[in-house]
Every structure is written in structure tokens, then in C-alpha cells.
Symmetry: C2
Subunit: 232 residues, 2 copies
Amino acid sequence: MQIPNEATLETSGRSLRIERAALHDQIVQRLHDLITEGELKPGERINERELAGRLDVSRTPLREALRVLAAEKLVTISPNYGAFVTRMTRREIQDAFELMSKLERFSGELACERITSEELETIRGVHEAMMAHWQQQNLPGYYHANQQIHDLINQAARNDALRQTYLSLNRRLHPLRLSSNRSDTKWRRAVAEHEQMLTALESRDGDTLGQLMERHLLEKRDAVLADWRDEA
Amino acid sequence: MQIPNEATLETSGRSLRIERAALHDQIVQRLHDLITEGELKPGERINERELAGRLDVSRTPLREALRVLAAEKLVTISPNYGAFVTRMTRREIQDAFELMSKLERFSGELACERITSEELETIRGVHEAMMAHWQQQNLPGYYHANQQIHDLINQAARNDALRQTYLSLNRRLHPLRLSSNRSDTKWRRAVAEHEQMLTALESRDGDTLGQLMERHLLEKRDAVLADWRDEA
DNA sequence: GTATTGTTTTTTGCATTCATTACGCAATAT
DNA sequence: ATATTGCGTAATGAATGCAAAAAACAATAC
């Protein structure tokens, strides 16, 4: 039994291997979409055989995908019992947003230290597009631009562990964020805060930006929790 | 520090289901141990068939376990190529410690708000045990107590999302932390910092404790990075 | 009518089998 | 000697089959 060459993968020079997505990875992606789009609802039981049929794959890669999603807490698996779309409790939502607010703050602080002027320009562009969406009362467009800005700031922070953690938390919270229908006054306020954030970022004022972003997300938390019913 | 098994089913009333650990969850646990103990070394290839034989299970649950560990970034999977124990780059280590330092800070801040006097007493007990280990130059005992303290503070913060993220990062960094052989002066310094931390915690001074814990971990980062060679 | 027990049916968990892909080595050409 | 091509082997990926566990249902006792 011979051990194959490991050099091809991870030598200092990055490998050129093209990695066709494996089926189970595609399934992870697909299930993630189904969950965030609400096609699979929180608390809903996932029948392996039925879902495998629906996705036209066998149970094996589906099960692998479910385990991955369980590790990300998007689904909850109870041994010998079944898999469910995770339903977060009020407390879990609160905790997650609290943590998220700190991650946002950290992102902002680091981004002010590390952002390039090109990145800054990009963000300004998206920011202006977001403003346009706001004036047209285009909520989906606004949300998209909004997410994009936070993501760009996160990227500018240049800390991959932070980014991964942020994205993972975001995946879990994303469905909730959409459902929080904000009043016009709250929307106006959020927009104003984003203006401040951009100003702070452009002057590389990490403390201010960090505080703004943290507070911004805590307000988001309050908005989501206010809307949230404890379906027992 | 346990990985798997959402204990209860998610109805409001907690379920009484007993959940015998599924095989693949046991494997996750076992592999995690093998990795942190250095039995499986970073960069090492994982041959599914061989490892399955070694653990006396079939490839199916082993593969499920590998996917879970990949989601936690403890192993790296390259499609159609194989699984490897993740080898972190210097930059990834740096990023992870930086994030960890912020999580520690947040833990400290929250713990000061939420800790009970019982918990405080427990921590003081472990702290004194740690001091005893120090005076006896018992490094393993010291490390264990040290980890325990950080974990207890984390628990006292009462934010599960924070706790999960902290534990996940800790799993990835744990092997590294051991390998950083500290000088006696550094050890003495760390001990002194822990004294300060306990004082801050007992007086519920969140700002001070947060700063101490953040700095404490950044020093750890420097110690680890100083020892770390970029094996190409 | 309710509760309990026994039976059937469904579903999950794991092992095995088959297919596909990539590696390693030898043969060949340059 | 080096590079390239082709083939055999060994790895991973996915599907199927089978056993175990749980849920649903029916029958019985009270």
C-alpha cells in the first residue's frame, strides 16, 4: 500500500488543482438556499429519503451534507430520530446578535487600519447605490447593498478567522434579518448611521466606526426581537 | 469540551429522549482527540480505508465525521483527492489568535455583569489550584487549570453563541498552545496577569478584565508565533 | 372512553458494492 | 537524460442493501 504524493496539494506554491464541486458540497449549498429562502422552515423535520428523492440524489451524500449543516447549526440532528431545520430560541437569537455586534465592531476597527483606498472607493460606490435604493424605497435592493457593505468592510479587515466566523453567524441570522420589517423612521435612522459609518471609515477612525457598527447591530437585534414571536 | 449532540429536542418542554451517541459522533470525538494529541499530525494525509480499519468502522460514518471536522476546519478536504489534517499558516494562526483575544475580552466583560458569587468562588478555587501547580512547576496541571478558568469565565458570560465560537476556535488552537514552551519569566508574568484578572473579576470591573484578557491572549499569540517555524 | 401493550410500518444508521477519478510507474519518443 | 503517454492500481464518491430503532397504529384491558 503506497502513500500518494502529498506534495501536489499544499506546497508553498498554491496548487493549480481544479476542484469540481463534490455532490455533497453542492447539496450543502442547495440546502442552505432552501433554508434561507424559507422553503424549509425552522422546526421542520427533514426526511432523508424524501428529500433525497426531491434533490434526485442518494441518501449518502445528503447525509454528509446534513452533518455539515449541523456543524454550522443550520440544522439540528437528534440521533436515531431525525434532522430538523434549526429553530433558534429567543435567547439564542439575542446571544447571536450580541456576538455579531462585537464582530462587527472588531471588523470596523481593523478595517480602518487596513483598508486600501481602492476598497474605500468601492464601498463608497455601493453606499451611494444603497442610498439610491433607499430613495426609491427599494427594500430588496437596499438590503443587498447593505449586506454588501458590511461584507466589504469585513473583507477589508483582513482577518480570515473573523471573516469565517462572521459569515457563519450571518448565515444563521440571515432569514431573521429579512423578516424584521422596519418602520420608515427606523429605516431613516439606519441610513443616517450608515452615513456616519462611511465618514468614520474614510477618516480611518476605528474607534468611532467600531462603536457605530456595534450599536447598529444591537439596534438590528432589538428590531428583530421585537418582531419575534415565541412560537412554542 | 464536547463536540456533538444537541442534547434535547427543541420543543419548549425539554424532551426526555436519551440520545445514545451515534457512531459518527463518536468518531468526530475520537478524531478530534487524535488530532489534538498529535497522533494525527498537521498536513498528514488521512486515508479513509486505512483509518476506518484502524477505528474498526466502515468508511460511511468516518466520512460523515470527516465532513463535520472539515466544517470546523480541523481537517481540510480536497474533492476527489483526499482529507488532511489542517495545517494552519502563520497568518491563519495570527488571525485566529487576534479574534480569540477579542472573544476573550467580550467574555470578560459579560462575565463581570453576569457571574454569580458561586461561580466566582469556583473560579477562585481553580485559580488557587493553578497557583499551587505553578509553585510546584507542574506545567500540565497549570495548563489544565488555566484552561478551566478561561472556560468558566466564558460560561459565566452566558452567551451561548460566544461560547460555541470560543470553543471552536480553541479546538483549532489548542495543539499550538501546548507547543509554545514558555520561559520562566513569561510564566511568572502570566501568573501575575491572572492575579489581576481575578481581582478585576471579583470587583466586577468588566473594562479592566476585558483589557487584561485581550492582552493576555495577544501575548500568547506572540509566544506561539515566536516558536513557530514555517515548515514549507 | 382511556390507557396500555403488542404489532406493523417507516426511518434512520451503517456496511457493502459499484463507479469515477487520480496517482504511480513503466515504456516510449525526443 | 528528460518529457510524455498509456496502463494498472489505489484512492475517493455515490448508490444500494440490510439491520436496528422509533413512530404509528391496532387491539386489548380496565
